[in-house]
């Protein structure tokens, strides 16, 4: 019984602190989600990248699955992930530049380019190493094109 009470108290406390955190930083979840989407793509790109670099042997099944994941994650990204006010300098941990909103058509164009490149990678990654490499490099260029214009540089 006593344990139950403690558990309820802990749960209540946890809920309250979540509430307080959310109040303090309304964009915490949004920023974390964005970073998660990027990390998932990086993880899958890494599997193919190791094959491109030659540090692991080409494996059509692994590459095909990784490429499908990248395409799927890229297709998820939309302006829902970028609510107004969640930019660098306003939202904690955000590296999103204000130009995402002020130059939105171009930003969405670059997002569409990423989806096109990721789609091509999905279609080619499972074929052979060279076909994958070409499509992989195109995805990298699409990533950089957006990071160049719309991500605040961060010291590593």
């Amino acid at each position: 019984m006593k344990h139950m009470k403690l558990l309820w108290a802990a749960a209540a406390l946890a809920l309250t602190s979540v509430g307080v955190l959310a109040q303090d930083d309304p964009f915490a979840d949004v920023v974390e989600t964005r970073h998660g989407l990027m990390m998932q793509m990086a993880s899958d790109l890494g599997k193919m990248g190791a094959m491109v670099k030659g540090t692991t042997a080409y494996d059509a099944t692994v590459a095909g699955k990784a490429a499908a994941n990248v395409a799927a994650v890229a297709s998820v990204i939309s302006m829902d992930n970028f609510p107004a006010g969640s930019e660098n300098g306003k939202a904690a941990d955000s590296f999103a530049k204000a130009e995402i909103w002020s130059n939105n058509a171009d930003f969405l164009g670059k997002l569409a380019d990423l989806n096109t490149a990721a789609g091509a990678l999905k279609d080619s990654a499972g074929k052979d190493a060279d076909t994958m490499k070409t499509a992989f490099m195109a995805v990298g260029k699409a990533c950089s094109a957006c990071h160049e214009a719309y991500r605040q540089p961060q010291a590593q």
Partner: protein, 294 residues
């Protein structure tokens, strides 16, 4: 009292005259360079290695369009906002400039009208360029499309709007000597030429003091651009990537974690793509030889 004041006034005049003398634009001799013949094909490699288009191409341009050097990109600093000028071979750019004009502008930071350039132009780095490379660079830029887009005036407030004072800045911070000194392998020496003279890595990756001079004691130890953006420390004190990792980053833009390059560094990766693999490896060897900054 009168004598005292006159003494002060005399001193002030002598001081001002001396200051005027000290801040006069200093020009190197171009006699040898003017006898050289420019090789535009080699000049293209120098052009990319030196990152000319990264700043002098119109804002937001990509690929072939970057070869039209119409200027207009904006650089916000603690001293004001600078706009890259038109350096295309047109009347409003560098059309009709002599070899000497070009060398003084690129390596001495002095414009054909004799005034100082702001050090937003990395002439302290370019001062180390080989005369043949500068002449080749001019030959290449002269083949690029001419643009009639007028250069924008810099937005710089007092006292930084007094160009003459830049002579003082040059006296303090314009020493063009290599930072990495001592006996080096030919590969590191080549990398040093690319990194310190051409690609001017230190301009963003080295911290600056209150007057905008590079802190050479913390060479490549991390800087700040556009007022707030942090540029990473790329010495071995912080950067623990393998040689292959750094080479892959410089040529593909992918970090070992497969994040992809952004910001101004995206230009550098594009530029490095125009260099032979041996040059990229030389830059890596140079970075590994630079003293660690913690």
């Amino acid at each position: 009292m009168g004598r005292f004041l006159r003494g002060i006034a005399a001193l002030a005049i002598v001081g001002a005259a001396f200051g005027w003398y000290l801040t006069a634009p200093a020009l190197r001799s171009t006699a040898t360079a003017e006898t050289l013949k420019g090789d535009a094909a080699h000049g293209e490699t120098i052009f990319w290695a030196s990152g000319c288009a990264s700043c002098h191409a119109a804002p937001g341009t990509k690929g072939e369009a970057m070869k039209t050097l119409s200027g207009g990109q904006k650089f916000a600093t603690a001293f004001g906002t600078f706009y890259a000028p038109n350096i295309s071979p047109s009347k409003v750019g560098i059309g009709g400039w002599s070899t000497a004009d070009f060398i003084h502008a690129v390596q001495d930071g002095v414009r054909p009208d004799g005034s100082h350039e702001y050090p937003a132009m990395p002439y302290v780095a370019y001062a180390k360029m080989e005369p043949q490379d500068v002449v080749d660079l001019k030959a290449y830029i002269d083949t690029l499309p001419a643009s009639d887009v007028a250069s924008l005036p810099h937005e710089v407030g007092f006292p930084f709007n007094i160009r003459r004072a830049l002579g003082g800045w040059k006296l303090l911070f314009g020493n063009p000597s290599y930072v990495l000194a001592g006996s080096l392998t030919p590969e590191v020496e080549r990398g040093r030429y690319i990194a310190e003279a051409l690609a001017h890595c230190g301009e963003c990756h080295t911290p600056r003091n209150g007057l905008g001079g590079l802190d050479k004691g913390r060479w490549l130890g991390g800087g700040v651009i556009d007022g707030t953006a942090k540029v990473p420390n790329i010495t071995k004190g912080k950067l623990d990537w393998s040689d292959a990792d750094i080479a892959a980053y410089l040529t593909t833009g992918a970090t070992p974690d497969f994040d992809f390059v952004g910001g101004a560094m995206a230009h550098v990766v594009e530029n490095m793509g125009h260099l032979p693999e041996s040059d990229v490896k030389a830059v890596v060897a140079y970075l590994k030889a630079v003293p660690a900054v913690n």
